[in-house]
Subunit: 261 residues, 2 copies
DNA sequence: CTTAACTCTGTACTGTGTACGAAGTAGAGG
DNA sequence: CCTCTACTTCGTACACAGTACAGAGTTAAG
């Protein structure tokens, strides 16, 4: 069964975190040479998270991987929360710069595909909230490139923001489903098919769960399950959703231009 | 700063979890009368989560709220993960049954609005993954009602599934942003405006972060921030996104019917 | 009345983030 | 060169988590 929860992490003054994100050096160092750099810590943390989940990123494990005592990490990073922020911006740095020659549909599609790939390379990105933490250079650049895709196509500024947020949100949501499913297969040792094989007879023994009570859910659920095995389902929703959203944006643009002229 | 992570929870045999979800009584009881019911535990857990976050739902705290020792909860629930599953289905039970007389656009809009409201009543629903756990009666009913909204409008079964998943995914994503932002305001004690007041001068002191490097991001970000204060931003994206998605579905339906005749 | 199933509880283990204080290192000022 | 002091590193300790385990008490079945 599933059930995954999210941990809170403090707010606090943004100063130090922003300085770390932008690599501000700080005052000249007097004491012993540091063994590591902040970048070392971030990279070690990303390696751990890639191989498992964000939960694998514990202060103790990152320290162990670096051959250092846990507490010494606090020299490079104020705490675990800020480390996660640094990891996010680091990962955003992997996004390619979209081809500026593309039309808006192709550009948005490329952005969505790149983001989809990024999430599959770094699934932990979807286990972490982004609000207020996207202040690093690579996250800024990401937003800039996204806006460039919809610049000059007839949307006002507020709509441009909404359009790219809508597309990236679609990718986030569908990629999350895709990766949750994959992770579940890994941790439970059961594929979706195997899991259903086990669950189906239990459900069958419960009168209230009979197909007669849920005719559409039974029919459509089965059809969807057969059309694409469940592992590919989110990828289908991604493509389907992107097509719908792009069509919807096109409708808006058309309405705009017709009203104007 | 932000940074929120998600915990893993085991897979395991679905049998017991499904039985709990559907309220299968189990063999006749011989020992002392139980002080509680599984429903008591679930309701106490929901109360705790509503008042805070999903992290407030610890075995110890739920037990304390019920005036019982922590370990005795394991009589009613196999573990924390299964408790979360039960909470999800319990919450889905609050969703109203949509008016069957509505057209598909109004029906999908009503479903989206109801879900948006549910997420704002129970923000912890967005801190928990749903994959494979939606096997309870109320979650089944939710899916059934969603499909009813798009039944008979010219989509095949696979597209019906994709359409409702797209809409509910949109609500999930935008509601998550909305609630993450609200939670951040609560935990940091800073409104978005106050936080930006503090962050802006720090950013201003970093040459690499100059607006000249991110012209669109600066212009559009400012415009979006002024148009609606950040707290309302996700709500705007929700409405904007829903309009686009519905238009996109309409385009698909129209194309279908034109091809047919 | 005996027995066995069931509930409930206290204790204990492992693992988390990180506060605190001590120890050691190396550049700055004399 | 010596001293001072900022700085890095580390060991210990605390509060809190989920839950395994074993024992004690309770009640229905035989």
């Amino acid at each position: 069964m599933s059930g995954v929860s999210t941990e809170e992490n403090g707010g606090g003054d943004p100063r130090r975190a922003i300085e770390l994100l932008w690599g501000v050096p700080g005052p000249p160092r007097r004491g012993p040479k540091p063994k590591l750099t902040t970048a070392d810590v971030v990279e070690a943390a990303v390696t751990l998270a890639d191989a498992d989940t964000i939960d694998a990123v514990t202060i103790r494990r990152v320290a162990e991987q670096l051959g250092v005592s846990p507490m010494s990490l606090y020299t490079y990073v104020p705490g675990r929360a800020e480390l996660l922020d640094l990891m996010i911006d680091h990962a955003h740095g992997e996004l390619p710069v979209p081809d500026p020659g593309l039309g808006w549909r192709d550009a948005l599609t490329a952005i969505a595909d790149d983001l989809w790939a990024l999430f599959h390379r770094h699934p932990w990105l979807l286990q972490v909230t982004t609000t207020r933490s996207a202040l690093g250079p690579h996250s800024f650049a990401k937003y800039e490139h996204e806006l460039r895709a919809v610049e000059g196509i007839g949307l006002d500024d507020v709509e441009m923001d909404a359009a790219v947020t809508l597309v990236t949100g679609l990718v986030r949501g569908t990629a999350r489903s895709s990766l949750d499913a994959a992770r579940l297969v890994r941790t439970s040792g059961l594929t979706d098919a195997q899991w259903w094989e086990r669950a189906a007879p239990v459900l069958a023994g419960i009168p209230a769960a009979a197909a007669a009570h849920y005719p559409l859910a039974s029919r459509v659920g089965q059809a969807a399950g057969e059309a694409h095995n469940a592992a590919e389902d989110p990828a289908y929703i991604f493509r389907f959703g992107l097509a719908r959203v792009l069509d919807g944006i096109e409708t808006l643009i058309t309405a705009r231009s017709e009203r104007r002229g």
